[in-house]
Amino acid sequence: MSDEATPGMVKITIDGREMQVPAGDLLIAAAEKAGTYIPRFCWHSRMKPVGLCRMCLVEVEGPRGTMLTTSCTMQVNDGMVVHTESDVVKKAQEGVLEFLLINHPLDCPVCDKGGECPLQDQTVSFGPGESRFVEEKRHFEKPIPISDLVLLDRERCILCARCTRFSEEISGDPLIEFVERGSGTQVLTFPDEPFASYFSGNTVQICPVGALTATAYRFRARPWDLQAAESTCPHCSVGCRISVQSSQNQVLRFQGVDVDSTNQGWLCDKGRFGFEYLNSPDRLSTPKMAGDDGLQEASWIDALDAAASGLMSIIDEHGPGAVAGIGGARGTNEEAYAFGKFLRSVVGTGHLDAQIGDGLEPRLLAAPADRGLIGDLEKASSILVWGPDLKEELPVLYLRVRRAATELGAKLVVAHPRRTGLDDVATHTLRYRPGAGQDLLRRLAAGEGDAGAALAALKEGPTVVITGLAGLTEGPDLAEAVAAFGRDLPDATVLPVARRSNVFGALDMGVSPALLPGRASAVDDGARATLSGHWGADVPDGSGRDTAGIIEGLEAGAIRAVVLLGADPAVDFPDPARASAALAGAELIVAIDMFESVSTSMATVVFPALGFTETEGTVTNLEGRVQKVSRLLPGPGGARPSWEILEDVATRMGGSIGATSAGVIATEIEKVAPAYAGATWDALNTAFGRDGIVVPTADATQPIEYVPVDRPSAPVQRDLVLHLARVLYDGGTTVQRGLSLAKLAAEPAVYITPQDAHRLGVADGSAVRLSGGNGSAELTARFDDSLTPGAVYLPFNLGISVGSGLEVELEALA
């Protein structure tokens, strides 16, 4: 090694080995990168050091001799000489462990953590072997629930403060803290305020002992009996990396995997505990067909015949344009591709959509000009979040924005109709009445009044603009205008967001009237011709209907048959009652799903599909990052992969989508979808590993680049307008079919400002009638002073709907 250190690096010596490490690194981190593992309990690479547990003591040579010091709080210095294995260090480690074990109950045989416990492991490696402590240990009631999901055993706790620091530093909801500091120090919540954090499960994963355990996993398995595979969380479009762990053909838990690009190790609780639905006894395991008495079990042959002949007779009578497809955003890219190919090439229809009337312009989601990455947040000077409440819809993206605004000092501007999870770390919060967003945007762009300071902040680049639908009563025009505004900022990238798990992948696979696979435009004749060359079939022109158009088509009789792939428009369409009525009028519904749903109850044929952890493939997140999902489990007996079902129907219709395995489809995608060139399973499994591949890769072409348009929508002047937005725990299948999450869904209520409430004679907690564009409902009113007067807020999909119209009326009930 040369004498000169590379710029940005310093030279240190660890246990006689000279090495260069990044300047500014903590010694514990630098040593680990260089291959020397220093034991630790309190230090966590994604949190600030505190030097609490003393397990990481090392000897550092200094002018006055060597000194024991905690390596997690010491930065490396040029010329530093460190000993991690000296007798003094060993003695110190033994001492620390002996102290930590003084009050530890040593109930490893009945502890969930046993087998993967840092305290166990480090005691074996660095501990004294025997304790001199013979006195009584501390006693606490064993385990107490600190939330619906997490239990705390204070006897096992070694007071490392990882959990409490996580809740303050990372998730921003410090509902647990040390109390009775002194000989009685313990972690605790406030008496009547449980640890109801959307991120509580992370504390279970990072607790270095078995003090925090999760109800969903408690006593289900020993770590050494688990099979594991790395995969990608299926619950939203952030695409967090997870480890799927199972035993005896049951998924038992998801753990966060630390990747820089997306989740940095964290998961939200919906992602972490949202595996239970996979094991639900309600999973479909045989095909079903409509009979006199609702859906009846049927044989595969009968069901496939019925689906194929039903579709063919409608095509014969009314043409392929009478058939439409909705869905594909819940599965893999391979399944979405098969769906799109089936509809376009076998059925011959251009009416298909992966969004359920709740999205943005598909070309904006698929290929925005100046698209940003989540990682851009790390170097951003300013951030604009104008869209959904990220904490409710894209929770780990919320964590990343929060980190940028707190740890990394970015200025954060949040615009939303009401308080969002990010407001407490925002430098500027802008609120507006649904329908009046464009006015606010105009004021922001002009830097008028209170928006002036926000604009000044946003002019400090690099800027990341995150935009999406703030609520379901507003059209996509506002988000589009915000994206256009973002592009005009001096140094900005735009990250348009939509929530539904693999919606970005499904759009990239062409499940949209506007898009062909690989981000080609469906109105581009050349692209259509190329695709029809590949497929050996005509590709319908780009005039197809999106989901709202399909619903209209059903109402008007222009659409007569619908194929649903993992979609429940009767619940997820912003106006569910309307979608439900439209579907009820369909002549034929063929559904491929894991569960029965409101929509499948109207189906002629329902096929049982394999789902997450049961099929291999890829998914694409909101950045355009393609990642692998793994197959670890067989799934319920009779269920089959969606692509296989589609292929079987296609064959009976005299066609084929050439799907003989998910791998074969993947190869076809790589060949057919321009932007996906190079994004092969092989590349994902090997070279790119955990970070996935952002498409288009360097040597791929991206046929479209969509420049967002500033389309002003008409301003609205109404008495009372509705903000309709999603919450994390709602009536969705993946929440409701799991024991842990189902009980977390909130009670439906309508939120109103105290001013409006006063005007209307409504008290906090009183009964009201809310009437909207499509229906009315009786429910409880709650005060929310973060809304703009004249606006009320109704959480979406909690069992109450009054339609998705902007204008509503509210009256007090006696």
Partner: protein, 204 residues
């Protein structure tokens, strides 16, 4: 229960002194005690809402300090120092005498809410040991008999304001040193007398 307007104004005035509201947590905890007689869960919630912390964080602070009483506390909190100087000069007997006179064991409060009795760590009056505090007002050189008399007096006279100098005159002995001009304001409850908290009042 929400705070009285007066308390709220005091809270706002205290918060205004600090660049960051959370710095006002500890003073506000005394306001909360003043409001409810001791530190209640409601009180901690009120503090949390005003300083921008969660109740769990406020509880974390409150539970570290013995002077934030989270249990019901008597109108007169008698703290007998039992640290080394006082212990050597008979503090244990003083504590026993106080307990006997009040009928309240160390660490307890009587049914009527008149007395709380506790032993305390050094209260900084070692030169005048054994030392006692009533509502943190100091009395030095207290013998067991004087301790009893002090408690009997508190029970009979029920002073609205507890004043160190007054008690010293009536029941005290040897003082550590001359503390300077006598204080005219004393404590109105089992929390330290401090004007900005509204816990001090002119006595005698």
């Amino acid at each position: 229960m929400t705070w009285s307007q007066k308390t709220d104004e005091r809270a706002q005035a205290i918060i205004a002194r600090y660049p960051d509201p959370r710095s006002a947590t500890m003073p506000l905890l005394y306001l909360a005690m003043h409001e409810d007689g001791h530190l209640t869960e409601d009180g901690m919630r009120e503090v949390a809402a005003r300083v921008g912390l969660t109740p769990a964080q406020v509880q974390s602070v409150a539970s570290f300090y013995t002077m934030y009483k989270r249990d019901r506390t008597g109108r007169y909190l008698v703290s007998v120092c039992t640290s080394i100087s006082c212990m050597l000069l008979g503090a244990d007997d003083v504590l026993a005498a106080v307990s006997e006179e009040t009928g309240v064991a160390d660490g307890d409060t009587d049914e009527d809410g008149l007395f709380s009795v506790e032993h305390a760590e050094c209260i900084g009056a070692c030169g005048g040991a054994p030392a006692v505090q009533v509502n943190y007002e100091l009395v030095e050189g207290v013998t067991p008999e004087q301790g009893k008399a002090l408690c009997a007096w508190l029970r009979e006279a029920r002073p609205e304001v507890v004043l160190g100098d007054e008690m010293q005159e009536l029941f005290g002995g040897q003082r550590s040193f001359e503390w300077g001009p006598s204080e005219t304001a004393g404590a109105v409850g089992p929390f330290p007398a401090f004007e900005p908290y509204g816990t001090a009042k002119e006595g005698r």
